[in-house]
């Protein structure tokens, strides 16, 4: 190949290492991104994603290795790449000025970047229209919702028309609807301007929207490739098994030497094993259980992560055995129910929660999903007795929230998304503090310390200062403190946001055990689809209203009936495929390397699309798929027809 044809990739990272004091944040990471690609660095908090991006943006120096943008060494000449890149730091709109309005923020970034007036005017208009922010020009940035802030931050990053975008966790804390819009903009930029994008995320479900991904864990780049090939290369079979007592079946399966790993997803068990379905059938028959059913499923990225983490430790991870769980006995004296009727809360003229009715049975996990500002937090605060109610009524664990909230507080356990215990205290100090607050007697405290210490594997850490502990242990400590007083109801606010898949699986194993064996119920507030998968029922909220509460399966079925199933077109020239398909199906959008749209008449639409593509000499495979929870949720948020059908 002649030398001239060797093109320099827009982004190249070669053997990059970065340490902070003793911690190795990035360990010899190498990858490259070619032009017009979206590359996703996937990993939990602390995986080293931010350090890699900061080195590329020229704002962080590395210990060894190099990083190039368009062939320019960013570590040596950070000033030379500034015009080429658009860099968005982590945090919701962290580069914005809160007291400045949308318009003033944009103008500030124009001046900062010295964008020529002609470029600025056309670009600004296009970006504002794309992000739907044109109606909010005079609103101060502080008053924008999380999703809007992030879109404004993106506008400010894109003003000088950079060809390379470095986005650090752009969708963290952004609700699913805004997240979809955000991705639509990114894919649009890729399709129209061939920009190159490097972004990081801790959401596994976002990986599919990238062309290439790199899995990061504790500074290591575990794997690199397209999302499909990576999961296809996984060895062994993945099954989803259902049984009326999943915990009982779980303990059977865990003793089975052929089982690589087991995990609970709601009432389903995910099993990873080398055996084929015939052998599994025989195995399950040997157990002499009556109503067992199973199906083979495709492994997802979380499975891939688990596979690599197990490989690294060369042993079964401790969470693969759930024997310690039997110590987890919660002797709650109440039944963890919620009966909520026409509950409302006003702040002046503003209706934060609007006549919300739902109930929660003992032993059930209910997920609340909704955009930022939908009223989830206000609703939860009222149910906890932290905020007086305006109208309606609610009974929590059998007590009225208006008049008996002091009793309610004794029977609920609360866990928030950020670690809200004291990092400068030891594990035992923290436990004793909450034991005191809940008035546990010395005898009961000792019993709880024993059972929670064993059940949550915390005993070895009792004397350690909390800030020095790994994230998973802190998570278990939070759960222990929330369970100390034997609550009947757990309230979880995005409990596993930003944690490793193995920590997340372990956490949910605990919660499923508690709900199924101890009949504790759980109310989960989240906009994290990975968490929604674990819920028995989901409640969708929007503008203070509870739109619908039902099981994920029924929600999906109804959305498919009213709004249609998903059609996916896969082809090499995805940008052209998209523009062609849009002439007939205006709602089609780009999803990574695929074009997605919903259809009520699958066979007919499939045929039409094939014909259309064929006429334009485009090759594509078109398949139908069932809706994911996120798509289902988006349908309920945006489709008037669906809302009417409820």
């Amino acid at each position: 190949m002649p030398l001239s044809e060797v093109t320099t990739p827009p982004i190249l990272v070669d053997g990059l290492s970065k340490s902070y004091k003793k911690i190795e944040a990035v360990k010899r990471v190498s990858f490259s991104v070619s032009k017009g690609q979206v590359f996703g660095l996937i990993g939990a908090d602390g995986a080293g994603k931010t350090s890699v991006i900061q080195c590329l943006a020229g704002v962080l120096s590395a210990n060894s290795g190099s990083a190039f943008i368009d062939g320019i060494d960013t570590l040596k000449h950070p000033e030379l790449i500034k015009d080429k890149i658009g860099y968005m730091p982590q945090g919701l709109g962290l580069n914005l000025y809160d007291s400045l309005s949308v318009d003033e923020n944009i103008s500030f970034f124009r001046d900062l970047r010295q964008v020529p007036e002609s470029t600025f005017r056309s670009n600004k208009e296009r970006l504002l229209k794309m992000t739907h922010l044109d109606k909010f020009l005079n609103r101060p940035a502080a008053k924008l919702s999380g999703g809007m802030r992030q879109k404004l931050a993106l506008i400010c990053t894109l003003l000088h028309l950079p060809d390379i975008l470095l986005l650090d966790e752009p969708t963290t804390g952004v609700d699913p609807i805004s997240r979809r819009e955000f991705w639509a903009i990114i894919h649009d930029l890729v399709a129209t301007r061939e920009v190159t994008v490097l972004l990081s995320t801790s959401y596994m479900d976002e990986a599919e929207r990238c062309h290439q991904i790199g899995l990061m864990h504790q500074g290591d780049l575990l794997d690199l490739g397209t999302p499909e090939t990576l999961t296809k290369n996984l060895k062994g079979q993945y099954y989803q098994i259902s049984y009326h007592d999943p915990n009982q079946l779980m303990s059977h399966l865990q003793q089975w030497p052929e089982a690589e790993s087991t995990a609970l997803f709601g009432r389903q068990i995910h099993l990873h094993t080398a055996v084929d379905s015939q052998q599994l059938k025989t195995k399950l028959a040997q157990l002499e259980l009556t109503d067992v059913a199973f199906e083979q499923i495709a492994p997802n990225l979380e499975d891939l992560f688990m596979h690599h983490l197990r490989d690294k430790s060369h042993a079964k991870a401790p969470q693969d055995s759930n024997h310690h769980l039997q110590h987890l006995v919660i002797e709650q004296s109440k039944s963890g129910t919620i009966e909520c009727q026409q509950l409302s809360r006003y702040f002046g003229d503003f209706v934060a929660v609007d006549k919300v009715s739902f109930d929660l049975k003992a032993g059930e996990i209910l997920g609340l999903l909704g955009p930022n500002g939908a009223g989830k937090t206000t609703l939860i605060k009222m149910l906890c007795g932290l905020l007086p109610i305006s109208e309606g009524s609610a009974r929590v664990v059998g007590f009225d929230v208006a008049s008996e909230h002091l009793i309610i507080k004794r029977h609920i356990g609360y866990m928030s998304q950020q670690f809200s215990l004291y990092p400068d205290l030891t594990v035992l100090n923290n436990i004793k503090l909450y034991a005191g607050l809940y008035g546990l007697s010395a005898k009961r405290l000792k019993k709880q310390i024993d059972s929670l210490g064993e059940g949550l594997s915390l005993t070895p850490y009792f004397g350690r200062v909390t800030s020095s502990l790994p994230r998973g242990v802190r998570q278990r400590l939070s759960l222990a403190c929330a369970l100390l007083h034997n609550p009947a109801l757990l309230i979880l606010d995005e409990p596993t946001s930003g944690v490793d898949p193995n920590v997340r699986r372990q956490f949910w194993d605990h919660v499923h055990y508690l709900t199924q064996q101890n009949q504790i119920s759980a109310l989960v507030s989240t906009h994290y689809m990975d968490e929604a998968e674990h819920c028995d029922r989901l409640g969708f909220m929007q503008n203070g209203k509870m739109i619908i509460v039902d099981t994920p399966a029924r929600l999906k079925a109804q959305a498919e009936t009213i709004c249609g199933q998903l059609l996916v077109a896969e082809g090499v020239e995805y940008a052209n495929i998209l523009s062609t398909l849009r002439t007939q199906f205006p709602d089609a959008f780009l999803y990574g390397r695929y074009v997605h749209w919903q259809s009520l008449n699958i066979e007919e639409d499939k045929r039409q699309a094939q014909k259309l593509l064929h006429e334009n000499q485009l090759e594509a495979v078109i398949e139908s798929r069932s809706l994911s929870i996120e798509e289902t949720f988006a349908n309920y948020m945006t489709s008037e027809a669906l809302k009417h059908a409820i």
Binding site: P388, R410, Y414, D424, N429, G436, L437
Partner: protein
């Protein structure tokens, strides 16, 4: 209720005991800071650099100049022109210049002698003191000249004059360390009380631990008390170090009054100031904001307290404003009881002031705190 408060207070002390930087700051505030304040803050004038411009060059002028000497003044030399005079003053090499005009000796004989004293008014406090020193030096010199002129015939005693015999009560040698050390102790008590309380609460807010506490049976009132108690105990314990080790031990300040009275009122005072700390924490979002706000409150409070200027010499408005500075009452109370050995009969009005202001602060803090939590 008390079990919950006890658990919280225990937690606060556990956190404090692990916070090495804060412990170092606290130890410094109640030892080093008091030591520095006692020794460095000195309101008398010592070794003020002066120059002279002698245009007369006579026996009388030299006689006068020899009278101006240490410890108050330090000669830096003579100047020889108006330009040089300006230069030494502007450059700060001299804080004052004595100008003796030509014909001084002749004029003095006929009782018309004049000297000019030019003082750098930029340092108004030392300038004021220097002027009064000059005045008294000249007065003494005048009497001497008078006696000399009259010769042996007229004895000094025959000239009618009043000789003041000043005795400074409670602080005979006018030891400024007594005054400055105590003032700094009161100052540090105020600052630490506000800062510790505000920091403890703001930290819960910014760490997100407050929500976790609120969903527990802990009530707002209990949380409020649990945040104040550790501060009160810490400040009172440390003030014992400040008072006995520094003020009494190092500066030898006599403690004359009732310690029971002092510490009862000090408890009340620290409690009031902690309430102010809660108010600060409620309206701010992080430690940096809280610290800034505390200094904005602390400086005027100190200036209005009467420690720098007695309230009597303030303008009417400032006098009224000084009534709302809790420090004014506490500093007055502290001097009265500790230095003068006074009892309730003499300081009841200070106690009343602290009580009234404390109640207002406490009520406001409880109100705002409840509003914030809801």
């Amino acid at each position: 209720m008390w079990v919950r408060i006890y658990s919280m207070v225990r937690k606060e002390f556990q956190q404090l005991s692990r916070d090495i930087p804060i412990i170092m700051i606290l130890v410094w505030a109640f030892s080093g800071a008091i030591y520095v304040a006692g020794h460095a803050v000195n309101i008398s004038v010592k070794d003020l650099p002066i120059a002279f411009y002698d245009l007369d060059r006579s026996a009388a002028s030299r006689d006068l100049l020899t009278k101006i000497q240490s410890p108050y003044f330090k000669w830096i030399g003579a100047v020889h022109s108006d330009a040089e005079l300006d230069q030494v003053l502007t450059s700060g090499r001299a804080s004052a210049v004595i100008v003796i005009p030509g014909g001084f000796e002749t004029n003095t004989q006929s009782r018309q002698g004049q000297v000019q004293v030019i003082i750098d008014g930029g340092q108004s406090r030392s300038a004021l003191l220097a002027v009064s020193y000059f005045a008294s030096i000249l007065q003494k010199h005048n009497i001497e000249m008078l006696t000399n002129q009259a010769g042996g015939g007229l004895s000094l005693l025959k000239i009618p004059q009043i000789d003041p015999r000043v005795r400074v009560a409670y602080n005979q040698s006018l030891n400024h360390a007594w005054f400055g050390g105590l003032l700094e102790l009161f100052n540090v008590m105020t600052m630490v009380a506000m800062l510790l309380t505000a920091a403890a609460l703001v930290r819960e807010k910014s760490q997100g631990t407050l929500d976790q506490l609120l969903v527990s049976p802990l009530t707002a009132r209990e949380l409020f008390i649990a945040k104040i108690i550790p501060t009160v105990l810490t400040v009172l314990a440390l003030s014992l170090v400040g008072l006995f080790v520094m003020v009494q031990g190092v500066f030898n300040t006599p403690i004359r009054g009732s310690l029971i009275l002092f510490y009862s009122v000090a408890t009340l005072y620290v409690f009031s100031i902690s309430s102010l700390g809660i108010l600060v924490a409620v309206v701010t979002r992080n430690i940096a904001q809280a610290t800034l706000l505390i200094f904005m409150i602390l400086m005027p409070m100190l200036f209005l307290s009467g420690a720098m200027t007695p309230p009597e010499s303030m303008s009417t408005w400032m006098k009224i404003l000084s009534l709302i500075s809790p420090m004014r009452y506490f500093i007055d109370f502290g001097y009265e009881v500790l230095l003068k050995g006074n009892g309730i009969a003499e300081v009841w009005h200070d106690i009343l002031g602290i009580l009234i202001l404390g109640s207002i602060l406490f009520a406001a803090a409880v109100r705002r705190f409840n509003q914030y939590l809801n």
